[in-house]
Amino acid sequence: MQIKYQAIILGGGQKAGSMLFPLCQDYSKSLLPVCNKPMILYQLDILETAGFGPQDILILLTKNHQAVADLVQRRAEIFYVSEDSESGSALLEAHEKIKKDFILLSCDSMIGANLLDLLDFHYSKKATISCLIKEEDLDKKQGRAPISCNLDESFDIMFIGSDQSLLHITNQEDDDQVNLSVSRNVLLSCQSVQIMTNLFDTHVYVCQYEVLELFQKLSKQELEIQNWRLEFLPYIIKHQKNVNLLNLMSKKEQGLFHERKHQQFSIKVFITQEYARRLNNIKDYQQANYESMIKGNKGVQLYQSVQDFQIQNQYPQDARISPDTVIGEGTRIGNKVTIQRSIIGKNCTIGDHVKISNSIIMKNVVINSNCIIQHCILSNESAVGHATELNKCNLGTLASVEPNQKLVDECIIR
């Protein structure tokens, strides 16, 4: 028997894509493709496999992300929130739409784990909030060093208790204070506590309905808690044994005494080894695309289904295209073209004598002849002039580059 949950996807607000400059200048982050499939469709697919139907999924968007709404309107319910809201306040605005316990996803989370396991865990532990956490092991064993889920240098320091509760979380870059300071009562609540630095927060949370009410009450107090992850979550983790906080949560009337005793506030972590990555910065976005190109046993499960749908195009005889390249439908490729380890979207035009390697090219892009493109991301409808060399450049939507240029490490917008 599965308790029906509601899924909420934070589809994009004002700040979405701020670290993905210039890709999101005129384009929604949720629509950025990984292996030619927009990110948000991955979320929807994961939810569908877990049994969520269109009436169970709610996507929160601001008005300027209309394109997302158009794409997904048949698969989920859309709710528009005000322009300047943050993740937490967006939830509050959608309060009436949320009626049950919910699972909160961010539009840029790529999850390989089975959501049903997470939901079962949440139910069996009677947790207030369950977080999906990936455990990684960056210990250099034989061979190549493993690649982290999070290509940012920062990491979280988490105190995990013996019953899998999350006792403390801070970012290693945060608080320049000399000391890591934890409340004593929180540490005493578990028999043994581990200090872990190899855990990655995937930003997928399963919450009880009361959490939303708690959030509402907290935001009414003068605490300036707007952002879900950066402000609300650390706040309640810090005060999880504080009696005043518990009193704020609504009390169930007529609960049996022994049930009421179980109404403790607990934040648990579900630790998985499966694939997880958050695509909120350029490095991680690129890395996800590289990972999606890997076929076979070493490939990521999440991307396998996408690859299977690739249609084989006809290419000229002298085009040298590496096997792990993905090329979208309708793309025309000129003569003597070399493409290595890249993803090319639909309806692109690639001229003659072009060398492309390690790049991500989206839809309707025109690349004129004799170009060399390495480690670049070219957004929709961009254009690159003749004989231009681009190295590690990122182009925004509708951007274009003059011919005969040599550019390294540049961001170009319209």
Partner: protein
């Protein structure tokens, strides 16, 4: 194994059992069916440790061992070392070092530990640690359980392989970790574990280097507060490491800190927690009741009780969770609840004894509650004092930043001129000090002298008083200032054994110099908590009884008011304490057997 010594610190340096330990050291307390120290010797011999060194302070232990005849298959080699002059376990260890018996490793055991931990694995782990690194000098043995008492409440921060990183006491509300001392690297598996379900057992396996460290740092008084704290907090300089051995779940221990834990340990022993160390099987009845004496069928005895040999339990007697020793006579209709009765006790009819400890040989005529009853001086005098209600604020953490590494060592005077040299030194020190921090420095200096020249406390007090009294003027303000300044120093060196010579030296001084009033000295001493009410009253009574002494008569007259004041205070205290209802606290046993 033949080289492996066990060192038992057969004394305590706190006054939790103040009343009983005045006459009987804690190691000689009867614990259910035998003395605590016998239990420990039994445990050690079952773990194949036969060389035992006992550090004792009270003569009774020496007497006991001289008259000890135990039938056993193995005879142990027991050496007794006298640590009469020590004020703390640190001093005891320094004394041990000076005897030079210990060459290698030894096991250190506190005198109040009852345990069933098997030492074989412990010693193996210790030897493995030593092979890995010569800097592993101490292995603490801890067992798993819920921390009940204030003395047990610590957070153990462990690194991999059970190395002790930090021992945090739970006084502060926020636990702080200094980021510089912790290594936090991204993506590495977990390095630190914080455990709150460990209890230190009072058993340590140490290397001789531990004794050396105590010798070098002679201000160290306690193992936990000083030694372990030092080793774990100054970890960037220190290379020596302390490891923890965590006993498997069925091996436990219990330390006897205070009356509540004493009772708790007895009940655990009866409940067979310390299997295979249990009361004899032949006495077992059911539900953890052991009857070695005669029990009438009409007596009501609850579970977890022990009735000693030759004790007659008459009908209509109710005994609840209590331990009764040998040769006791219980009158008809008695009720004994949560109490520990030692041997040879007579209890009259219809007496209720609740939450008490009654020492050997007493005769109880009235109902008592929450008291420790002893016999004094072979008379049937009942002296009653009360359990301290367990106070959460009594935990004191050592102030370790007063230790100065650089202190001036006074020149060592040759032994013949010891006394004279000491007096001169004292005069120097007293003359120099003007502020409280200088007084603190002086305390350290005097400690140095004491240890280097091995002087007794009494001599120090006499020399100090001579110098101190020289510096003060007859008016009351100067007296007050002087006492305020030297309060710490006097409190440090004048303890129960020295109060008499302290008062004596003031008395002689006042006799010689008529301008000074003994009464004022006593009042100031009382105010600065150097002397307690009882001591002053005793002295005053003594003086009142002296005949033919003009000085004594004058003193008695002038101190009449003060005497009455003190008597009032004592009466108030007694009244208040009898009004408080004190229980022994709840016993929460973690039943280890699932």
């Amino acid at each position: 194994m033949s080289e492996f010594y066990a060192v038992i610190l057969a004394d305590n340096y706190d006054n939790q059992f103040n009343h009983l330990t005045n006459t009987l050291p804690k190691s000689l307390f009867p614990f259910v069916d035998d003395l605590i120290i016998e239990h420990q010797i039994n445990w050690l011999s079952k773990n194949e440790i036969d060389q035992i060194i006992i550090l004792y302070r009270n003569e009774k232990i020496a007497e006991y061992f001289n008259n000890r005849k135990r039938l056993g298959r193995k005879t142990q080699n027991i050496q007794l070392i006298n640590i009469l002059d020590s004020k703390s376990s640190g001093d005891a260890l320094r004394e041990l070092y000076s005897h030079g018996i210990i060459q290698q490793d030894f096991l250190l055991l506190f005198g109040d530990v009852i345990t069933n931990i098997s030492l074989k694995d412990v010693i193996n782990k210790y030897h493995d640690q030593r092979k890995e690194d010569k800097m592993n000098i101490l292995l603490m043995v801890a067992h798993q359980g819920t921390q009940q008492y204030e003395e047990e409440r610590f957070l153990y921060v462990l690194e991999s392989d059970d190395k002790l990183f930090q021992l945090i006491d739970l006084q502060q509300k926020q636990i702080k970790f200094n980021k510089k001392h912790i290594t936090l690297t991204k993506g590495m598996p977990c390095k630190y574990v914080i455990r709150s379900n460990l209890i230190e057992s009072g058993i340590y396996i140490c290397n001789r280097d531990v004794l050396k460290s105590f010798q070098e740092n002679f201000m160290w008084a306690e193992i936990k507060e000083d030694f372990i704290k030092y080793m774990t907090t100054t970890s960037d300089i220190q290379e020596e490491k302390i490891h923890l051995y965590i006993a498997p779940k069925i091996q436990v221990s219990q330390r006897i800190f205070h009356p509540q834990s004493f009772h708790n340990a007895c009940l655990k022993y009866l409940s067979r927690f310390f299997f295979p160390y249990c009361p004899q099987q032949q006495y077992y009845v059911d539900f953890f009741k052991y009857f070695a004496g005669r029990v009438d069928q009409k007596a009501k005895i609850s579970d977890q009780c022990f009735i000693g040999q030759n004790t007659d339990v008459k009908p209509k007697v109710t005994i609840t969770k209590s331990i009764i020793g040998k040769n006791c006579k219980l009158g008809i209709g008695c009720e004994i609840i949560n109490s520990i009765l030692w041997d040879n006790i007579e209890i009259d009819d219809n007496v209720i004894i609740k939450d008490c400890i009654v020492a050997s040989g007493c005769k109880i005529k009235n109902s008592i509650q929450s008291q420790i009853v002893t016999m004094e001086n072979q008379k049937n005098v009942k002296q009653l004092s009360n359990f301290q209600k367990y106070d959460d604020n009594t935990f004191q953490s050592e102030d370790s930043d007063e230790e100065s590494d650089s202190h001036e060592l006074h020149q060592k005077k040759p032994k013949e001129n010891d006394d004279q040299g000491l007096k001169e030194d004292m005069i120097d020190i007293v003359a120099k000090c003007q502020t409280v921090s200088q007084v603190r420095q002086a305390i350290i200096n005097v400690d140095t002298i004491k240890v280097n020249s091995n002087i007794a406390f009494e001599n120090i007090v006499i020399a100090f008083m001579a110098a101190f009294l020289d510096t003060i003027q007859p008016d009351i303000d100067s007296l007050k200032n002087a006492y305020a300044l030297w309060e710490e120093f006097i409190v440090r060196f004048v303890s129960e054994t020295e109060v008499l010579c302290y008062i004596k030296s003031i008395e002689t001084f006042c006799r010689q110099n008529q301008q000074y009033h003994l009464n004022q000295f006593l009042q100031l001493s009382y105010k600065h908590q150097i002397l307690s009410e009882q001591v002053i009253l005793n002295y005053q009574n003594q003086m009142a009884a002296v005949e033919d002494d003009q000085f004594a008569k004058e003193f008695t007259q002038s101190s009449q008011q003060f005497k009455e004041y003190l008597e009032n205070i004592i009466a108030e205290q007694e009244q208040q304490q009898t009004q408080d209802e004190q229980g022994d606290g709840e016993y929460e046993y973690e039943y280890v057997y699932e």
